[in-house]
């Protein structure tokens, strides 16, 4: 009998003590778990980082009630890190804005604005500014563009959204289109692209489990890609050695076997010394190196190495800081520049590549012409291997101690583990992220690792390769479908301004090239057809002249200067927060204060939207709200649960997320914003006879819309990206693309994602029902290959190097390549195939050329072209560094990009007078608990409470030296600004001993800013704009500073303090700007 009075139940039932069933209340257990009670479960993808963990979104009564991991995902296996786990709060939190806000010029506060009215106003602003700043010509060459408008952001957006941004803005003649890829991993594209042919990670996360040695350097894997880190643990469980080389002992180090503390910015010296060790002790994988790399290729006689010229290679022009790469070429062979580089070669002196261009080749591989001369004995003094040997000869363990602060015994252990775990039967994998990319010679960090992995024979093999851990959910996608100034979709270069250029000229130099880039005409024509549809014909050059032209670099940092000098008047921030996230944050804001109008689209009121009201310059009095004329629009963005689209994860996997619910209020997707903005502008300009409006009016811009808010159908955009043939049938592969205008394709490398009219990005065959490659989960470019260059997993004869490491091999009986992965090779090209002399395109590559995007089919130990600051990596000090360069007379990378500006002063370094004013090394980094500039974590209570305040990490030794007190405040000062932070004294940051000198490092997380729940000064106030010349990435990973106890001064006293330091250090506009 059931009594409602528990006491009676207790007395009559089994639970006499009243501690179990008897005490149960009727309500307990009566409400089913909301995962079980949901009306539907929608498949999605985590919107934070590029691991791309799969999410299940539970919806009840048209509200998202829970978000958790999808156990079917082969990548994440149902797990989510704290950020992914907080997605429910991110998307449904009460803090999210749902209203359009408007700040009229000079106004003190926001006002609300109707969404439609706001759209009309923004359309008007764009039309007006464009008209007022239109340039048909620049220095006598046709440019057909506007420099008055710029946009920034894209890595948090879907591929489809990026596609519309690039398409619409390009048609409007806007060239300053940029996103996080610039500041994040652009040097990766150069480093990996020139070495192997494609700028993406060569492998995928799950494959880590097959590694015998995982070397994590320049990445804080466990903190920045926590769910991906499970695959390191898998490898570890199976016996792998895990090494973490990092200035700080992090949560990654805590789980590693070896932690090697290294001075920031010194990795080239460290890796170069391993290269030296490998070469000197003949530890390289000889067969692999001989056949698959350019080790045997002979260089020109007039090539001079940095070892001969004290840090410079032959061809340097100190005036322009540019290299002419002529002398870097292979012997007896004329290098024709890559698809991108070629563009300016015929009216500029060879080799003077405008900045940002190298990234183009990086993404695409550099075609070569002629036949390279080789010495298969590898003994020729001018063969690449011997050049390499000489180049790195001075990179010794002693030098590692002097430059990096790593003791020789520890260094020897790393060498031992790495070489013992490489070879036919074993593989080692490198993992890096922005600890390597964000340096003034970042591309060269990655180049050094590429050289090492080629020497050890680890590329293209299971458990090998180089894992570049990308940042945002779709930062790979926003590079592939680039909202980047210098690229068109699929790494086709944006054309530069030339006289009378027609597409034929642009493509001309491409025609005799070898490898897969031979088909660029088909890729480009199909793109132009996608954009300008029927109006693009062979007769009008497929509207090639509708593309606005570049005249040098228009990167995000150039845009800031253009804002400061008044050229750039309108700015759209489409999911990026430069007021916190970009180098020299103060300059970012000062630039925005010069704008006529600013559009911010975001989930939350980020600093880049509110600086005019409460930014640091208002506090110091440098800016006054009423004097700021910038008109500001804030549009609330739809979250990932409120729109459909695809993200491309760190390993090139396109994963579709489905819309779970409609966005509330004025919140709209960026797809909606771009589509309707374009629609309104086109409506307003309809009937215009002005030729500048033609590209816009001829643009194909009629996507189907659905629902009350008229949301464009994302799949329709994906279908255009994939492309179709003359009959409108979806294409299956980029090999079907034609240069005659009969095919349409918005991004050739994504061709195949919609093959057969099926959205392959949305495939979700559970991991448990597939092998570890999980080929039927999502879709990876290119052609669903997961391990790039996997031809190299087999020996030249086509058989696996070893049973243990078999991945792809030649099936003699079937006459085709086969294996676990989709072969990254022509399927039926036998290992024995050798090209006819004069063969072109893919046919010009032999059966033993695994790097099919490279024009010689080889991995490049030596980069004869494509890397603007040298064919081989050399160690240079960061722009601001307390340490003198012991290797070369040039302290800093001679080719680095600098911006001389009052607000961007550089500091004396090494032994220069005044260097001791900024005696400590500073590095900036991430925490598991926050995300980038904080827009997605500092407003989220569950994340904010985990790391609530800006802090700095210092060693007990430094704390003692400077009187810093644990838990109290400290002020960190550079020539740009000063910030305050709470002090965290920890053994995790060890002082380094360099040649008897003690170097202290200071660690600063960069997530904090004045808005949101977790607050603090932004680390980027301290950072200067000094860039890698290849990719225009900023150096935020290594700088120098002073630190002292106490809070920073407020008001005008703050700039005073910074100035007083500058005076003491003798900082002038010339400081740090020498070659």
């Amino acid at each position: 009998m059931e009594f409602s009075w528990p006491l009676l139940r207790q007395l009559t039932g089994k639970d006499r003590l009243g501690r179990a069933a008897a005490a149960k209340s009727p309500r307990t257990g009566s409400r089913p778990a909301r995962t079980a009670a949901a009306d539907r479960v929608v498949k999605s993808v985590c919107p934070y980082c590029a691991v791309g963990c799969a999410q299940n979104v539970y919806v009840r009564d048209e509200k998202v009630v829970q978000i958790e991991g999808d156990p079917d995902s082969p990548i994440s296996r149902g797990r989510l890190c704290p950020k992914g786990a907080s997605s429910l709060q991110l998307t449904t939190g009460s803090g999210r804005l749902r209203k359009v806000l408007y700040r009229p010029p000079h106004a003190a506060d926001w006002q609300e604005l109707d969404l439609d009215a706001a759209m009309e106003m923004v359309a008007d602003r764009i039309i007006e500014t464009r008209r007022a700043t239109w340039e048909w010509e620049n220095a006598g060459r046709r440019v057909a563009r506007t420099m008055g408008v710029a946009s920034l952001g894209g890595a948090t957006l879907d591929n489809e959204e990026n596609y519309l941004i690039k398409k619409l803005f390009t048609a409007l003649g806007v060239v300053q289109i940029e996103n996080q890829a610039r500041v994040c991993h652009s040097s990766t594209v150069v480093g990996l692209g020139t070495s192997f042919g494609r700028g993406g990670a060569t492998t995928f996360l799950q494959d880590l489990q097959h590694s015998d040695c995982v070397l994590i350097q320049g990445s804080n894997f466990a903190e920045a890609h926590p769910v991906g880190f499970q695959w390191v643990m898998e490898a570890k469980a199976r016996g792998a050695v895990v090494i973490h080389v990092d200035p700080r002992f992090t949560r990654t180090s805590a789980l590693a076997d070896l932690h090697v503390p290294i001075r920031v910015g010194s990795d080239v010296a460290f890796l170069g010394a391993i290269v030296n060790h490998v070469l000197e002790n003949e530890l390289f994988f000889r067969d692999y190196v001989l056949h698959y790399t350019n080790a045997s290729t002979i260089l020109r006689e007039d090539y001079r190495d940095a070892e001969d010229l004290d840090g410079l290679f032959s061809g340097f022009d100190p005036e322009t800081r540019d290299y002419d790469d002529d002398t870097w070429q292979y012997e007896g062979m004329r290098t024709v520049a890559a698809s991108g580089e070629r563009d300016e070669h015929y009216d500029r002196p060879a080799g003077t590549m405008p900045p940002g261009r190298a990234e183009v080749q990086g993404g695409t591989g550099v075609p070569l012409h002629g036949e390279p001369v080789r010495d298969e004995t590898l003994r020729h003094p001018r063969c690449v291997l011997q050049v390499l040997r000489r180049h790195f000869a001075r990179y010794t363990p002693e030098m590692v101690q002097r430059v990096c602060g790593v003791p020789p015994e520890l260094f020897a252990q790393v060498c031992r583990h790495l070489t013992e775990n490489s070879g036919p039967d074993r593989t080692a994998e490198f993992v890096y992220a922005v600890g390597w990319t964000q340096h003034s010679d970042g591309a060269q960090f990655i180049r050094t690792a590429s050289i090492l992995q080629l020497l050890l024979g680890n590329i293209g093999r299971p458990g090998g390769g180089i894992q570049a851990l990308r940042g945002h959910a779709s930062i790979q996608g926003s590079s592939d479908i680039p909202t980047l100034f210098n690229l068109l979709p699929g790494y086709i270069p944006m054309p530069h301004a030339h006289e009378h250029e027609r597409m034929r000229d642009f493509l001309r130099a491409d025609s005799p090239c070898r490898g897969f880039w031979a088909n660029m005409p088909a890729y480009l024509v199909s793109l132009l057809k996608a954009w300008w549809g029927p109006s693009a014909t062979r007769d009008n050059d497929f509207h090639f002249d509708y593309l606005p032209r570049l005249t040098g670099s228009h990167s995000t940092y150039d845009t800031v200067l253009a804002q400061l000098d008044g050229t750039c008047k309108g700015y759209l921030l489409l999911g990026e927060n430069p007021a916190v996230g970009s180098a020299n944050a103060r300059m970012q804001r000062l630039g925005m204060a010069e704008l006529d109008w600013l559009v911010v689209r975001d989930l939350n009121l980020i600093e880049s939207a509110t600086w005019w009201k409460d930014g640091p310059e208002i506090e110091t009095g440098e800016l006054t709200t009423s004097e700021i004329g910038t008109e500001v629009f804030f549009f609330p963005a739809a979250a990932h649960t409120e729109k459909s689209g695809s993200f491309t994860n760190t390993n090139r996997w396109l994963q579709w997320h489905h819309r779970a619910v409609e966005p509330e209020g004025d919140a709209r997707s960026d797809l909606w914003f771009m589509y309707h903005l374009g629609r309104i502008i086109r409506r307003k300009l309809a009937g215009s006879g002005d030729p500048m409006d033609r590209p816009l009016l001829d643009l194909t811009w009629d996507y189907p819309v659905e629902g009350e808010s008229a949301e464009p159908v994302a799949e329709a955009v994906l279908a255009e990206i994939n492309g179709w043939d003359a009959e409108g049938r979806p294409l299956d592969a980029y090999s079907q693309l034609k240069d005659d205008g009969s095919t349409v394709c918005g991004c050739w490398i994504y061709c195949g994602v919609y093959a057969g009219g099926v959205n392959r990005a949305a495939r979700r065959k559970p991991a448990a029902e597939q092998d570890w490659v999980a080929a039927e989960w999502a879709w990876a470019w290119p052609a669903n290959r997961r391990v790039l260059y996997n031809r190299a997993s087999a020996a030249p004869d086509g058989r696996p190097w070893s049973e243990r490491k078999r991945l792809v091999w030649w099936d003699e009986s079937a006459g085709r390549w086969t294996g676990h992965d989709v072969p990254d090779f022509e399927e039926d090209k036998p290992p024995s195939y050798r090209p006819e002399p004069g063969a072109q395109g893919p046919a010009a590559l032999s059966g033993i050329d695994p790097f099919i995007m490279q024009s010689d089919g080889k991995g490049w130990l030596f980069a004869p072209s494509g890397v603007v600051d040298g064919p081989l990596p050399s160690h240079f000090e960061p722009q601001d560094s307390p340490v003198a360069n012991p290797l070369y007379g040039h302290q800093r990378n001679p080719a680095r990009k600098l911006y001389r500006h009052e607000d961007n002063r550089y500091q004396p370094s090494g032994e220069e007078p005044g260097a001791s004013v900024y005696p400590y090394v500073v590095t900036t980094y991430r925490l598991t608990e926050h995300f980038t500039a904080g827009g997605m974590s500092r407003h989220t209570p569950y994340l904010a409470e985990l790391q609530p305040e800006m802090f700095c990490e210092v060693s007990p030794e430094l704390a003692a030296e400077r009187g810093l007190v644990h838990g109290e405040w400290a002020t960190v000062i550079t020539a740009r600004s000063a910030i305050e932070a709470r002090v965290l004294v920890t053994d995790r940051i060890a002082p380094l001993h360099l040649n008897g000198r003690v170097i202290h490092q200071i660690g600063l997380p960069f997530h904090f800013g004045p808005n949101g729940l977790a607050r603090g000064d932004a680390a980027n106030e301290l950072v200067s704009i000094s860039l890698d010349p290849n990719s225009h990435i900023q150096e935020v990973k290594a700088l120098s500073a002073d630190i002292r106890p106490g809070r920073r001064p407020r008001g005008p006293a703050l700039p005073e303090l910074v100035l007083s330091y500058r005076r003491r250090a003798g900082v002038t506009e010339h400081t740090g700007t020498e070659v």
Binding site: G18, R19, A20, A21, A23, S25, R27, T28, G29, P32, A33, T35, A36, Q66, E68, G69, G78, R79, L80, C81, P82, G84, A85, S86, Q89, A222, E223, V227, F229, Q230, M233, F249, R251, S253, A254, L255, A256, D257, H259, V260, P261, P407, L410, Q413, Y942, E945, L946, Q947, P948, E949, H966, G967, R982, L984, T986, D987, R988, A990, P991, L1013
Partner: protein, 259 residues
């Protein structure tokens, strides 16, 4: 059912803390910088049901090589949770029956019954349960009772990126923990030990076992917790004796004649 939290593979990501809060709508628990390594949630309580401890020590971890300084160093991270004690003091002392033992062997607060007496708080020898300021009722980990009822594993275990939190049948977990301890010992970390695995301990073994890399108190855990009600029979006897003494004393005092 229970947990085996293997701290040797914890990456300190705190996903467990967040997933727990999301699932159970636990409120934010304060925004202050503590300086306790990377731990800013301080400890378990009404508004933190999973808590990740961070311990920086000048001690070696197995054969781990930690770099340049002539200093042993290790960074321990451990995710703590309600132990779901076999002999649970919180449950024993609860006067309303709000705390009860479920069919899964777990210990759960029934918010609709709890009167906020707070008695469970000092009763818990692990410092787990707390009384919420806002609601006035006690709160702690439910081992995701509602999820178990629909055959889903607890949110914290599900989200854990490295499977440091393992959920399952206790017997199996105990076996796995024992095997795991051998493994970790063999790998060189001799300071590793199990916690809560022993049914003969003061709380009858816990429903949440741990593999720790140092002594429990280093992580803020009691080294030898004993359920307070183990002494309750004796307490009642003493209280009874004292009551009788009081009764007798007063009686004697009154019966003695005089002024």
């Amino acid at each position: 059912m229970g947990f085996f939290t293997d701290t040797s593979i914890c990456i300190g990501c705190k996903a467990c803390e967040v997933a727990c809060k999301e699932w159970n709508a636990v409120p934010e628990d304060g925004l202050s910088f503590t300086g306790m390594s990377y731990d800013n949630s301080v400890g378990l309580g009404a508004d933190t049901w999973r808590h990740v401890a961070f311990v920086e020590q000048r001690k070696p971890l197995g054969h781990q090589e930690t770099g340049a300084r002539d200093l042993d160093f290790r960074w321990l991270m451990a995710s703590d949770v309600c132990k779901h004690c076999t002999h649970a003091a919180c449950l024993d002392v609860c006067p309303t029956g709000s705390l009860f033992r479920t069919e899964y062997g777990t210990v759960v607060v029934q918010e609709d019954i709890c009167n906020g007496c707070g008695y469970c708080v000092p009763a818990c020898p692990f410092g787990v349960i707390g009384r919420r300021e806002a609601s006035g009722t006690a709160a702690k980990c439910t081992m995701c009772y509602d999820r178990l009822e629909v055959g889903q594993e607890p949110a914290c275990a599900k989200t854990c990126p490295t499977d440091s939190i393992q959920f399952g049948e206790l017997d199996e977990l105990r076996e796995r923990a024992a095997r795991r301890l051998e493994q970790v010992h063999a790998a060189g970390t001799s300071s590793a030990r199990l916690y809560g695995h022993d049914p003969a301990d003061g709380v009858g073994g816990t429903g949440a076992l741990f593999l720790l890399l140092d002594e429990p108190q280093v992580y803020g855990l009691p080294p030898d917790p004993v359920v307070t009600t183990a002494d309750l029979p004796s307490m009642w006897r003493h209280a009874g004796a004292a009551a009788l003494a009081l009764l007798a004393g007063i009686a004697v005092a009154a019966w003695r004649r005089g002024r």
